[in-house]
């Protein structure tokens, strides 16, 4: 993990309020499911912002983010060549090396992008991956999943594209050895309870407000079956059977 300055390569709008940021990597090997703390300000905002790795190669990091407030709107104004600061890679990613067989990645909203690097890594390790992607209305990132997935299922809330309704309606956990989910907590809870019924191993990637991002402040602690855990350091990926939902 490092705290470093990096240069913006590109920062493009891909849907209404969703952007893809590319920056020079300048940091260690990145595992699927890890995140970075980002900032493009000095002291004007107090805290850095946690954003998951969407894609990574030897020299570039991609982040896909939705503009929701002061920090993400500042980040969205970055132009190619601008400098920004990153802290990471933070947290534990998915244990991709240990995951074999048929795997479903189930994402909702801005929980979708982090699953892209995950699908890629799993496929490279020999697993077969199906993606279940639930969108509000406009689609994004779907083509990024295509090279890594056997099947891709899509839903939108009003049915503009794909299935009309919730993505969990399409999922049958018993068809998979492992289910990996990232997205709104209600969706992950639903996935986790479906998996519990079929005894399917399920990993969830949690979101929590963070200050330090490295495990020092205990601002992101959650209660788990094995005691208090820090989402930033001990997670953000947890086995659903560990969570106290």
């Amino acid at each position: 993990m490092r705290y470093f300055e990096s240069r913006v390569i590109a920062n493009q709008r891909v849907a209404d309020d969703i952007f893809v940021l590319q920056v020079e990597r300048n940091s260690a090997e990145v595992a699927a499911g890890q995140f970075y703390m980002l900032k493009s300000w000095d002291k004007e905002l107090t805290l850095m912002r946690p954003v998951s790795v969407f894609k990574a190669d030897e020299s570039v990091l991609w982040f896909m983010y939705r503009v929701v407030g002061s920090g993400t709107s500042r980040i969205s104004a970055l132009m190619p060549g601008d400098k920004m600061r990153l802290l990471g890679p933070c947290g534990n990613g998915y244990p991709c090396d240990a995951l074999k067989g048929r795997i479903a990645v189930v994402g909702g909203g801005l929980g979708i992008p982090p699953l892209c690097e995950t699908a890629k890594t799993l496929k490279a390790r020999g697993a077969t991956v199906d993606a279940y992607l639930g969108f509000r209305d406009a689609l994004f990132a779907v083509e990024d999943f295509e090279p890594h997935c056997e099947n891709i299922f899509i839903s939108t809330e009003k049915g503009e594209e794909g299935y009309r309704g919730f993505i969990t309606d399409l999922l049958s956990p018993e068809n998979y050895d492992t289910v990996i989910t990232c997205g709104p907590e209600v969706m992950m809870r639903k996935v986790a309870s479906m998996c519990a019924m079929t005894d399917t191993r399920c990993y969830c990637s949690l979101e929590h407000r963070m200050a330090c991002g490295i495990g020092a402040c205990l601002g992101c602690s959650i209660r788990t079956k094995s005691g208090m855990r820090r989402v930033c350091k001990d997670g953000p990926v947890f086995l659903s059977s560990e969570l106290e939902w």
């Binding site: 490092r2 705290y3 900032k39 107090t46 200050a211 402040c217 205990l218 992101c220 209660r223 208090m228």
Partner: protein, 303 residues
């Protein structure tokens, strides 16, 4: 141009190689930040706030950004004093700087029992956080009324053979009276300020952000008030003072020293810049050179 600047200071007989100390609760036991830079470059580290028994801390949102600062309601999550003595001390010792054990408590008995244990452990100083709510007096913090604080400090002083720092709450009825009562009760040093009691509301949910309704405000927003409090206290006490509250830069460090502080603690800034400890220290050397300060103690209390 290589003018030497002396930054070392002494507090209650304990030598600090420089006056920068990581503030309790923002720096864990130092290990996480040590992955990013050698935290041994700091004068000292104040541990995460410890309690006699392990604590899980508060439910719900714990950190919240505010204009020029943040609020927190971590609720003293910590592994307990026994676990700290078994593993935390060894971790902090490897940094080679001053090891300050910060301790909280919710009853007089807990404070005394905890202090007795820590006093016999391999720590350099004990920092007594009296901002904690006292369960026996309806949750009002020990650090509000000077007479209540005096009792706790006296009782802890009786069992503590290590240099004792008392950390004051800015929510005290009268911070100067509080400081004098703690000095009188046997404190070897004071540190101030802890966080200001504050509030945030989620207008969409029409509810307070924090489960405990109120939470502690820190960061740049509190600096001018913290500076005033440090200044006022330093006029009236003889014991050395650790100043803190919104220290973000080397200039801020000098302001607190000029207000009378012997050393300075940095908290929230670590979240804004994880290398803040090292960066502020480097900048402080350059700033002293520019300002013609050869020993930081020259400017202590000049205001």
């Amino acid at each position: 141009m290589d003018k030497n600047v002396t930054l070392s200071v002494e507090i209650a007989g304990v030598p600090f190689k420089n006056p920068l100390v990581a503030a309790s609760g923002t720096f864990g036991f130092g290990g996480e930040y040590d992955e990013l830079y050698d935290v041994g470059c700091l004068g000292g580290i104040s541990s995460k706030g410890l309690t006699l028994h392990p604590k899980d801390g508060n439910e719900g949102i714990r950190v919240w950004e505010t204009a020029s600062g943040m609020m927190n309601s971590v609720g003293l999550q910590n592994p307990g004093i026994d676990e700290f003595i078994d593993t935390g001390i060894a971790q902090m010792r490897q940094f080679g700087n001053v090891l300050i054990a910060n301790m909280g408590g919710h009853s007089m008995e807990d404070y005394v029992a905890g202090a007795a244990k820590l006093s016999n452990a391999d720590i350099d100083m004990l920092e007594l956080n009296i901002s904690c709510p006292n369960v026996k007096s309806g949750g009002m913090a020990f650090g509000i009324k000077a007479e209540v604080a005096r009792e706790v400090v006296k009782a802890v002083r009786d069992v503590c053979h290590k240099p004792l720092i008392v950390k004051l709450s800015p929510n005290a009825e009268n911070i100067v009276d509080m400081a004098m009562a703690c000095e009188d009760a046997g404190a070897d040093a004071l540190s101030l300020v802890n966080t200001f009691q504050a509030m945030a509301i989620d207008i969409h949910k029409r509810k307070p952000v924090f489960n405990n309704v109120y939470a502690g405000l820190s960061g740049a927003a509190i600096k001018p008030i913290a500076l005033r409090m440090v200044h006022a206290v330093c006029q009236k006490v003889r014991v050395p003072v650790f100043g803190m509250g919104g220290v973000y830069t080397a200039e801020d460090v000098l302001e607190f020293v000029m207000a009378g502080a012997t050393a300075v603690q940095i908290g929230t800034v670590n979240f804004n810049n994880p290398l803040a400890g090292r960066d502020i220290l480097d900048a402080l050397v350059r700033l002293c050179q520019q300002e013609g300060i050869s020993n930081i103690s020259e400017v202590r209390g000049v205001c």
